[in-house]
């Protein structure tokens, strides 16, 4: 069988492969949108009434998020990572379900590590309908390239994505510059005019990483936006851009703790 190499995309995928993936994404988007309100209200019920989570300045957080993502430029949310449900809490905190229902592209996608989730039907359904593109950390280069390709494809169409620059939950419970992943820099370098929105989210009593925050937790969410640029190319660009994001998160964390100490006095 002759392989038509001259029709391969820059990252080595055939038009047939890409068409299949794009169709699959379109279906995922449509089904996810259909389930936005019912799933959203279930999650809202769990977070508000069972786990009793609260958000400091909730109205302001929602207004800020809407302003930040209502833009023609692709938006990448770069967030600190302390628990397994940070993304869910963020989505719940950042906007109400009606906003997501009418602005579905602004309900952020996530790229969770498949290894962290048991492969049950429930989990697969939730990740599918919840706008996730699971990545196998130990997966092949082709798999990783496809995850990146889909991410870039969707971002260029105006979809918001969340990326954890630390890779996993911080074992020190603080921004860990030693654990920086350069995937965020790669993404920034591949998507033109990308706006990075750093998000620092922390519960008042969160001193350590955990599966989920304690019941009754109240969260602070802070945002900082910027357009990362670099004079470097290739891997050096990925590293430089990733470091800019991490340094911004570190500054936000320092400011958070300064404010916390100031409030105590």
């Amino acid at each position: 069988m002759k392989i038509e190499t001259n029709n391969l995309s820059e990252d080595g995928f055939s038009p047939k492969e890409l068409k299949k993936e794009y169709r699959s994404l379109s279906l995922q988007i449509f089904l996810g949108w259909l389930f936005t309100l019912p799933l959203g209200y279930i999650i809202n019920f769990i977070f508000r009434f069972i786990l009793k989570y609260k958000i400091h300045n909730s109205k302001e957080v929602k207004e800020t998020y809407k302003k930040l993502v209502t833009t023609k430029d692709p938006v990448l949310l770069c967030t600190n990572h302390l628990t397994m449900i940070d993304s869910n809490i963020f989505i719940w905190a950042a906007a109400d379900m009606l906003f997501y229902g009418t602005h579905y592209k602004k309900l952020t996608w996530n790229i969770p590590a498949k290894e962290n989730f048991k492969n049950t039907i429930t989990r697969r359904m939730i990740t599918y309908l919840g706008k996730c593109i699971p990545v196998e950390r130990a997966g092949s280069k082709k798999h990783h390239d496809m995850v990146l390709h889909k991410t870039i494809y969707l971002m260029k169409k105006g979809h918001v994505f969340t990326y954890f620059p630390e890779g996993g939950r911080s074992r020190t419970a603080r921004i860990d510059m030693e654990n920086i992943r350069y995937g965020v820099g790669k993404l920034v370098s591949e998507v033109p005019n990308l706006k990075a929105v750093c998000v620092y989210m922390r519960g008042d009593s969160q001193d350590d990483y955990s599966e989920i925050p304690v019941k009754g937790e109240t969260f602070t969410l802070n945002f900082k936006e910027f357009y990362p640029t670099t004079k470097h190319t290739g891997l050096r660009a990925h590293r430089d851009l990733s470091q800019q994001v991490m340094e911004t998160l570190k500054e936000m964390e320092d400011e958070y703790f300064r404010n916390k100490a100031g409030n105590r006095e």
């Binding site: 654990n179 350069y182 590293r239």
Partner: protein
Amino acid sequence: MNEQEIFDKVVKILEPYVRNQDALTDIKKETNIVTDLQVNSSRLVDIILAMEDEFDIEIADDEADKVESVGAAVELILAKG
């Protein structure tokens, strides 16, 4: 620069990133950087860039992806020489 000198320089580049310090005592060409030396895979980019700087070479992304062992790193550098 001969192969042994390159090998020694590569080991020196790897050292700060190695979490399994015991594996350094018996490091060979076959030693896998991530599984044997327990280098954080996120740090492979830093190692590649350090090799570029040390040996004044350029390593393409697809070449970097193939550097899994110490020997592979040495061979790549020799090929660029």
